[in-house]
């Protein structure tokens, strides 16, 4: 018999994977995204960050690694780099979670935006080191800016739409540890 807490955790993990894959599907729709237009927000990143800061147990590292490696391959990005950056960024946010649980939303927002900018910088540096064509810096920063702008909406949607909220101080996981 599966206890309800474990069942819920796995349910949310499935939901997370489905949402990420759905977002990738919508990105790949052949709607004629004109070259030279403004890059849209990368909602997969915003969703992941929002969930990591609220319920890290719903987005375990292996799941993130598999999903983002798959997205890298599917969306014609340098394979592996995006996944590595994503793991690094979420690990950083995870370790800051105890701090950020107490902090008001504007600070969390600023933290997330800073992490996104850092990811862009690291990606540019990594691509520069191995001499690969890299996306123009301005456009890449603009994309992370849009992502940061979309972050509050993603948070609100996950909070009210999917019920992903920060754990209350008295909640515990299946083994009785504090969340």
């Amino acid at each position: 018999m599966i206890d309800p807490i474990t069942a819920r955790t796995w349910g949310y993990r499935l939901l997370f994977s489905a949402l990420i894959l759905l977002l990738a599907f919508f990105q790949m729709l052949p709607l004629g995204g004109q070259a030279g237009g403004l890059p849209g927000a990368d909602l997969t990143v915003a969703l992941t960050f929002a969930w990591v800061l609220r319920r890290p147990s719903y987005v375990p590292v292996p799941l993130l690694a598999v999903l983002f490696l798959f997205l890298d391959l599917l969306l014609q990005r340098p394979p592996g780099l995006g996944a590595a950056l994503m793991i690094g960024a979420t690990e950083m946010l995870r370790s800051r979670r105890d701090m950020s649980r107490a902090m008001p939303f504007p600070f969390e927002w600023a933290l997330v935006s800073a992490v996104m900018a850092g990811m862009v910088a690291l990606e540019q540096i990594a691509l520069g080191i191995v001499v690969v064509d890299r996306p123009p810096l301005g456009l890449a920063l603009l994309r992370s800016l849009f992502t940061a702008a979309a972050y509050p909406f993603v948070v609100v949607l996950s909070h009210y739409g999917f019920g992903v909220r920060a754990a209350a101080p008295n909640e515990a996981d299946a083994l009785g540890r504090r969340l």
Binding site: F25, L29, P30, L31, A35, V61, L69, P79, D133
Partner: protein, 310 residues
């Protein structure tokens, strides 16, 4: 007691977890490095992965894209009166062009008949439906639903009804990726008509790719036609690419003739390997007599005079 167990738990779990995460990051970076070092193999793996994944949602993506197109069309009803006027005016111009075209066609047919020219047999094509985009704002490519199964090969040119769109880069069993001319990795040799200047069309992730290596800037002007030159043997020559325009930054750019906002059906042009000349002498010098028949000829030659002598 419980406190104690918790502590020992954390002591074991934390370092193991850290090693695990570090290993995962290293694994991802290793994949990245392998991709950098041995790109074709990883790209082939990527093509195969896309090939297995994408057709499974083709049933959803094609109708959704159509639906979005219908919505756009519906929005354009608002400007329907003005569009009607524009279309009438354009139709007038088109009639004039049609007259010219008909005359030219007749003339052309006569000249061809006189010459008995055989048109290029290379230009047969496979048509495919666009099933997916690249999904990234920094990569300009689309995925077609034809692949190795239909005989598509890497490097073949692709066009929509009017102009060139790009080349095949990556073939799976039932899908193939078209690298658009607007992608930052796309380079293509072109000729600017009517001056005949050669140049390289270099995509730079904008809607109008730039022209590099133009010999004589004075010989060309905005509005000139740009066609593929066929240099390098990748693209067939003389395919329409677009119209020359002067960008705001002072560089010459090309307005592409293909409708990039709505790529639905694309034609992949079969092109066969050009003949490679391996033996330079074989072409220039007429065929040499082989040594074998020589004794026969001399024998005949020596026999021939004998009856004459007798």
């Amino acid at each position: 007691m419980a406190q104690n167990r918790n502590h020992s738990d954390i002591d074991y779990v934390r370092p193991v977890r850290r090693i695990f995460v570090g290993g995962l990051v290293l694994f991802c970076l290793a994949i990245f490095l392998i991709w950098r070092i041995d790109s074709p193999r990883v790209e082939r793996f990527r093509a195969n992965l896309v090939d297995t994944v994408v057709p499974s949602f083709e049933w959803a993506s094609v109708p959704l894209a159509h639906f979005a197109g219908m919505l756009e069309d519906f929005q354009s009803y608002q400007r329907i009166y003005q569009q009607n006027q524009d279309l009438r005016r354009e139709l007038q111009q088109m009639k004039a062009w049609k007259e010219a075209a008909v005359q030219l066609e007749q003339q052309n047919a006569k000249l061809l008949a006189l010459n008995s020219v055989r048109l290029d047999p290379k230009l047969t094509s496979v048509s495919g439906v666009v099933v997916a985009d690249s999904g990234s704002p920094f990569r300009q490519s689309v995925l077609l639903n034809v692949g190795e199964h239909d005989g598509v090969k890497d490097g073949w040119a692709t066009m929509d009804g009017l102009g060139l769109v790009g080349r095949i880069a990556g073939v799976g069993k039932t899908t193939s990726r078209v690298l658009l001319l607007t992608d930052a990795a796309s380079r293509m040799p072109v000729t600017i008509l009517p001056s005949g200047q050669r140049a390289i069309l270099a995509g730079d992730n904008t809607a109008a790719p730039a022209l590099d290596f133009i010999e004589d800037l004075d010989a060309i002007k905005p509005g000139d036609r740009v066609v593929s030159s066929g240099d390098g043997g990748v693209f067939p020559s003389g395919m329409l690419v677009g119209q020359l325009a002067l960008g705001p930054d002072g560089r010459f750019r090309v307005w592409l003739a293909a409708d990039y906002e709505r790529l639905e059906f694309l034609r992949v042009l079969r092109s066969h390997k050009g003949e490679v000349i391996t033996d330079p002498g074989g072409l220039v010098v007429p065929p040499q007599p082989t040594p074998e028949p020589v004794p026969d000829e001399t024998a005949e030659a020596s026999e021939a005079p004998e009856p004459g002598n007798d």
